[in-house]
């Protein structure tokens, strides 16, 4: 059961990574990165329980916190966002 959950989280992480690499718009990538962070929290919580790491919940807590602050910073960046004129032809090349 736990293994299945970990596997599911890993698959979701791969999907989020694919979206972060391809993502046609910037917002897809932000959401993908955010999702990836959330999945990392879950992975650590699950993996820590399964593999008996010590104090894994501390780390998971810190991740959740850091992810939140990071997202706020990104939003703030786009609020200032001055150079969006190139936003359409950018991305993966």
């Amino acid at each position: 059961m736990l293994d299945a959950a970990i596997l599911a989280v890993l698959v979701t992480m791969v999907l989020a990574l694919v979206r972060a690499f391809q993502g046609p718009s910037v917002y897809d990538r932000i959401l993908a990165a955010n999702l990836f962070g959330t999945k990392t929290v879950l992975l650590i919580a699950l993996g820590g329980y399964a593999l008996q790491w010590h104090s894994f919940l501390d780390i998971a807590l810190l991740y959740a916190l850091v992810n939140f602050v990071g997202t706020i910073a990104v939003m703030r960046f786009f609020e200032y966002g001055s150079d969006t004129e190139e936003a359409d032809n950018g991305g993966a090349r």
Binding site: L10, F21, I30, W53, H54, I59, L62, L65, V69, R76
Partner: protein
């Protein structure tokens, strides 16, 4: 293995991108991945630091820098062939060097033979701390940690010399659209006390579990960065004025040095904490607590000073 494959993929993607903003996002993912890898290697304290510094504050600082420098990377004027050859040869040499190194976790490796057994066997008796990492970092290797604290302090001073903390006309409280979001304001107001509490927990629980001064300082600074991001730059500066920060940074280093000097004047070697109390183990506890506090104060003030220095500037246009 899966984690390492993720890392390689993310690094390759980050190289190909010209949009530096996306590179920052990818790097924060990379950092989270690295920290998960450290968790897997059972290095909880390292994972802690990586998560707090690499994934959290570095991303925010890089975004602040991008805001000043512009978002798009220029095409390089030279071809990729020569750098590729140089990197290839260096990488091959490094891999060749690792062929001789012992395998990870090999009990016969020199790392496990030299001082590690003494730390593991004597540490709980001499220092009396459940968390061996803190015992080694703050007590046995106190001198090295003193050096690290100085490095952080010097880096902060250098940034302040180069950029300085400016009080632009736009650093007025409550002038951001993001600050108008009611849900965000309420959530942030509720979260910040928890972050502060968590930072204090990490600071003072470092003797027993993962954590310590470095991580706690960064987490504490993160709380103020969050406040600054949501409520505008003026308000956070009212709580912790920029003019205090370099003094606080110096205070942390001085606290660390003073503990060492006290031991020196008490007739013991520099940074020998057993001079602090009659009972050597008690002295060790007190010394590690003070030293970690100094580290925490320095890291907190330097990180916040760098953030102020970057966020206070406006793009020259």
């Amino acid at each position: 293995m899966v984690l390492l494959a993720f890392l390689v993929l993310i690094a390759l993607a980050a190289i190909r991108m010209r949009d530096l903003f996306i590179v920052v996002m990818l790097f924060s993912v990379y950092s989270l991945m690295t920290a998960a890898l450290f968790m897997d290697l059972d290095a909880v304290d390292v994972a802690f630091t990586e998560a707090a510094v690499g994934a959290g504050v570095t991303g925010v600082l890089m975004l602040s820098t991008l805001r000043l420098t512009g978002r798009w990377e220029r095409r390089p004027s030279h071809g990729p062939l020569l750098p590729l050859i140089v990197v290839g040869i260096t990488g091959a040499a490094l891999i060749y060097g690792t062929l001789d190194a012992p395998l990870l976790g090999d009990p016969a490796a020199p790392v496990q033979q030299h001082v590690a057994p003494r730390y593991i066997e004597q540490g709980p008796v001499e220092v009396g701390m459940p968390n061996m990492v803190t015992a080694v970092l703050a007590s046995y290797r106190g001198f090295d940690t003193f050096g690290e604290t100085f490095v952080i302090f010097t880096a902060g001073i250098a940034v302040l010399l180069l950029l300085g903390i400016q009080e632009g006309p736009e650093t007025r409280p409550g002038r951001t659209a993001i600050g108008d979001q009611l849900v965000l304001r309420v959530v942030v107001k509720m979260v910040i006390p928890l972050i502060l509490l968590y930072a204090l927990y990490v600071q003072f629980h470092g003797d027993f579990g993962a954590g310590g001064g470095f991580q706690a300082g960064v987490i504490l600074a993160t709380a103020f960065v969050l406040y600054d991001l949501v409520f505008g730059e003026g308000d956070a500066r009212l709580v912790v004025p920029p003019s205090w920060l370099h003094r606080l940074g110096a205070l942390g280093v001085l606290l660390y040095g003073a503990v060492g000097l006290y031991a020196l004047f008490a007739g013991k070697p520099f940074l020998d904490y057993s001079a602090l109390a009659h009972d050597p183990v008690h002295g060790q506890h007190l010394g590690v607590l003070l030293v970690e506090l100094g580290v925490g104060i320095t890291v907190f003030s330097i990180v916040l000073a760098i953030f102020y220095a970057l966020s206070g500037r406006r793009k020259a246009s």
